[in-house]
């Protein structure tokens, strides 16, 4: 009997120690949710159809190119949907050649004949692959960008469905900057300026149109940018006629860093990959004296004049602040987002608000717990002490479990903790009341305790398992906060069974082993 007691005691001690190790220091091991510590929470929608369209365009172009090589001409190709295009040709022969080529080069496309046109649709599996790859690439890109932010423990995760990304940045409270940094598609292109020849841009679209006699050539488009004065302040808009062809883009960048220009103004320096340098050298070599538009997300940042052939490095001046130069380098380095995104959900909790809720919550929790402890002691005397130790151990295990699962404590999580504590108190009350009942029925202390625990056991198991089942469903089907509630509840319930049945019993047995059989029980 004594030996048995010792082993059980050691087991309880071991559990307690493991939990202390798992939860200590609490500041490091228990993550506070954004609602408690402040930070930015975003849900982004990735418009995967952007990427799908790009893939469709490129496959379509490839097919036409291949056909041209086999001297099939007179094809008209049009994209008819996100993942569909049609090709029509003058002769049926041409169409069958195109079908052959498609069979060889475009395995993921299904072609069907409709009158004198071929309708191509991407198969569902490939569509899904493209969409998922887009989301994953976007996660990667955002990850790289956030890395530069120096946030500890950022969460950047794709959701299971709906092509979304959840971003959580604890401690960050400049949502504007985060939004800009993430949302920046950062698609960089270098384009040759056709008009005005010397770079610099003109004041209106009409001026450009007038230059071309009212009709833009097919390979030219108009882009706009900011007009700046000597001090780099924005004073208006400026327009450029640039070539549509993009030979060098952000994909050809090897690196980008913020730096200082000749007047100490912040600039971004970049270097190019070997293939990028080759293309860039060719582009600039052929266009010495023309303007070279540096286009970011469809806007001209700056359009300096090419003075000589440039191959592997260059710089972008755009009247940046240091912060902007830093952020632009970051997004250029991290690569372009594969698709545009919108914000579905955005929450910013200021640290002051979060701190207020923690303080108030803690105060309420302490007062409430103290009241319960006093009531337990007053009502159950020494046995109350037993319940209190079991309760404290319960909370310890709860935090140990949260540390082990790296779960996050949120406000709903605190609700879970409260429910757990309530149920743990209830488990003890169940046992005590049962013991009292047995004592009233005239049993000895020993058998009253044995029977009390035995009979309360089924109640405890049933109440806990019922709640556990509901917690599991909530975990499975709930979102963020509901999940947080379910996690703390699950850990807490398991801890509660252990403390109420095992620990509390051990404490009773320990007391019984050191006393006279006839002495009354303080309960």
């Amino acid at each position: 009997m004594k030996r048995n007691l010792l082993w059980r005691g050691l087991l309880i001690l071991a559990v307690a120690l493991v939990c202390v190790a798992l939860a200590y220091p609490p500041k490091k091991k228990i993550n506070l949710g954004l609602d408690l510590r402040g930070g930015v929470h975003l849900v982004l929608q990735v418009h995967t159809e952007d990427a799908l369209r790009a893939e469709t365009d490129s496959d379509m172009a490839r097919l036409v190119d291949q056909a041209k090589e086999q001297s099939v001409t007179g094809l008209t190709a049009t994209r008819t949907g996100d993942a569909a295009f049609t090709i029509s040709a003058a002769s049926p022969d041409a169409l069958s050649t195109v079908t052959d080529i498609a069979g060889r080069f475009l395995p993921r496309w299904q072609a069907s004949r409709q009158n004198d046109a071929l309708v191509f649709t991407m198969d569902a599996k490939s569509v899904n692959e493209v969409r998922n790859a887009t989301v994953n690439q976007a996660v990667q890109t955002i990850n790289n960008r956030i890395d530069q932010f120096g946030v500890s423990e950022p969460v950047i995760q794709p959701t299971a469905t709906g092509h979304r990304i959840v971003v959580e940045l604890p401690g960050v409270d400049d949502p504007e900057r985060v939004r800009r940094l993430i949302k920046n598609t950062a698609f960089l292109e270098f384009r040759i300026v056709q008009f005005p020849k010397g770079g610099g841009g003109v004041g209106s679209r009409e001026e450009i149109l007038a230059n071309y006699g009212g009709q833009l050539p097919a390979d030219v488009e108009i882009l706009e940018g900011d007009r700046r004065d000597q001090t780099d302040a924005v004073v208006g808009k400026s327009y450029y006629a640039v070539q549509k062809r993009r030979t060098v883009t952000g994909r050809d960048l090897r690196n980008a860093n913020p730096s200082r220009g000749q007047f100490g103004n912040p600039i971004v320096e970049f270097t190019l990959t070997p293939t990028g340098s080759e293309a860039f050298g060719q582009l600039t070599g052929q266009n010495v004296g023309s303007g070279l538009a540096i286009v970011l997300d469809g806007r001209v940042v700056t359009a300096p004049v090419v003075k000589s052939r440039i191959s592997d490095r260059g710089q972008i001046e755009g009247g940046f602040s240091q912060q902007q130069a830093q952020d632009l380098s970051t997004v250029l380095r991290s690569g372009a987002l594969p698709a545009s995104i919108t914000y579905l959900e955005e929450r910013t909790v200021g640290p002051a608000l979060g701190r207020d809720s923690i303080e108030a919550g803690l105060r309420a929790g302490i007062v409430g717990t103290l009241a319960v402890l006093v009531a337990l002691l007053g009502y159950y005397r020494l046995a109350g002490l037993n319940a209190i130790s079991a309760l404290l151990l319960n909370v310890l295990i709860l935090f140990g479990g949260m540390g082990a699962f790296h779960s996050t404590l949120t406000l709903p999580g605190i609700a879970g903790v409260i429910l757990t504590i309530g149920m743990a108190v209830d488990a003890n009350v169940l046992v005590f009341e049962r013991i009292r009942e047995e004592l009233r029925a005239g049993r000895t202390v020993r058998s009253a305790i044995d029977l009390g625990f035995d009979r309360a056991f089924t109640s405890i198991i049933d109440t806990h398992v019922t709640t556990l089942i509901s917690a599991l469903f909530l975990f499975q089907f709930g979102t963020g906060p509901i999940k947080g509630f379910a996690v703390t509840l699950t850990i807490g319930l398991i801890a509660s069974i252990f403390t109420a049945v095992f620990v509390s019993r051990w404490l009773f047995d320990l007391v019984l082993s050191r006393r006279q059989v006839q002495a009354p029980l303080s309960i």
């Binding site: 100490g264 919108t342 579905l344 910013t348 007053g378 398992v465 019922t466 509901s470």
Partner: protein
């Protein structure tokens, strides 16, 4: 110390009366939730934008409302929150048609039209890091050489903004001047070139209508499935009628509490869902304890009518019910009173829920199990099974007064065993 023991209240005597009372309460609750009062759905579920502003002086709600309405955002909910001296205001606007992105910019612009009028330069209560750094670099009060200026002033700007974030809106320039790293030159440059706007944005939440809809349906299914899960477990461990009774009791508690919650205008959001889940947890817990005792008593005395067994079981567990409910009540009451704005709604649900839940586990769960039995049980009104077909049939609940001198069933068996 002991409050109650060996009680013999006839709880089931007035069960029809209490079922009717509960039914009326549920109907009233549902009427409040879906009727003219309407549940105050938070932006979590309704979609929309909620921003928390701190003001330098006591905010005038009416003025803010006029400004917001003039900007075309009707049905905005504007409330003072926090401690009175903190001058905080919460503005909630509905989701704009056709866009998932929020109306933060529009709100701030609308308010700035009236507040902050005629002030020039950077607004120290609004500006972000970029704006402030740039303004400082341009003024260059510390006479730093251009290459280092950016880093130097970015550091100062960060210090100033950090203080604003942690300690709230700047009410005077003095607080900025006292910050470490802010030189007198910088302070006076800010005094001249910048101003302190009348309000500052402390927090923003924006939930697009799409997400709102999803959160709504996910929350609904999670709760429904978890209730079904409980029902199945109780069915498996006890009997179907007990499962029905327990689920009915929790639905009753949710309807009544939610009705009162709506009536008092609390906001229903994701945190509140957690509160209602907790409430369901307590309610079922309470009910299961009583049912457990019923199961035990049923095994001991098979001949006793169910109704009497129920009364015995409720009486035997009464002391525990009062004790547990009382202790939990203490905790949630302190949450309600001391928990601050965020936890107040939660505390309210639990405080009311504990009372209603304790009542329902006695007066709703057991009577419902009885009702189910009399309707669908063997020989029940709507049952296809004849009375004799299934198992040891329990007689229709008829009242049998315990004969004086006869011992309650439990002790009799206990003694026999011992």
């Amino acid at each position: 110390m002991e409050f109650l023991h060996d009680t013999h209240f006839d709880f089931m005597k007035y069960r029809r009366f209490w079922i009717i009372v509960s039914f009326i309460l549920v109907v009233l609750g549902l009427y409040t939730i879906f009727g003219p009062h309407k549940l105050n759905l938070g932006i979590d579920f309704a979609g929309g934008t909620q921003i928390t502003l701190g003001f330098r002086e006591t905010p005038e709600i009416d003025r803010i409302r006029t400004l917001v309405e003039q900007a075309g955002m009707r049905e905005a909910v504007i409330q003072r929150i926090g401690k009175p001296e903190e001058n905080q205001v919460n503005i909630k606007t509905a989701a704009a048609q056709g866009t998932e992105e929020g109306s933060r910019e529009r709100l701030v612009a609308a308010l700035s039209k009236s507040y902050n009028q005629g002030k020039t330069g950077v607004d120290l209560n609004q500006t972000g890091l970029d704006g402030l750094t740039q303004a400082l670099v341009r003024a260059n009060p510390d006479r730093v050489a251009p290459p280092q200026a950016g880093t130097h002033y970015a550091g100062i700007a960060e210090t100033i903004l950090k203080d604003r974030r942690t300690n709230g809106i700047f009410k005077s320039m003095d607080r900025i001047a006292r910050l470490p790293g802010v030189s007198p030159a910088v302070a006076s440059a800010l005094q001249q070139g910048a101003h302190l706007g009348d309000f500052s944005v402390l927090g923003t939440e924006n939930v697009g209508p799409q997400i709102g809809k999803e959160l709504r349906s996910q929350g609904f299914w999670a709760v429904l499935l978890s209730l079904l899960g409980m029902l199945c477990y109780i069915w498996f461990r006890f009997e179907l009628r007990f499962g029905i009774g327990a689920v009915m009791a929790s639905l009753h508690d949710v309807a009544v509490t939610l009705g009162l919650f709506t009536l008092l205008g609390f906001e229903f959001n994701l945190t509140t869902i957690a509160a209602f889940l907790t409430l369901v947890g307590y309610s079922v817990n309470d009910t299961v304890v009583i049912f457990d005792r019923m199961r035990e008593n049923m095994r001991k005395s098979r001949r006793k009518p169910l109704i009497e067994l129920m009364n015995d079981s409720i009486n035997e567990t009464l002391s525990r019910t009062i004790m547990t409910s009382g202790l939990t009540f203490l905790t949630v009451l302190s949450l309600f009173l001391l928990g601050g704005d965020v936890l107040r709604g939660f505390g309210f649900v639990m405080t009311v829920g504990i009372i209603v839940g304790t009542y329902s586990s006695i007066y709703v769960a057991s009577p419902f199990a009885l009702l189910w039995e009399s309707l669908f049980g063997p020989g029940g009104k709507w049952s296809r099974k004849p009375a004799v077909a299934a198992g040891p049939a329990r007689p229709e609940p008829t009242k049998i007064e315990p004969k004086p001198g006869e011992l309650p069933a439990r002790r009799r068996t206990a003694r026999r065993r011992a």
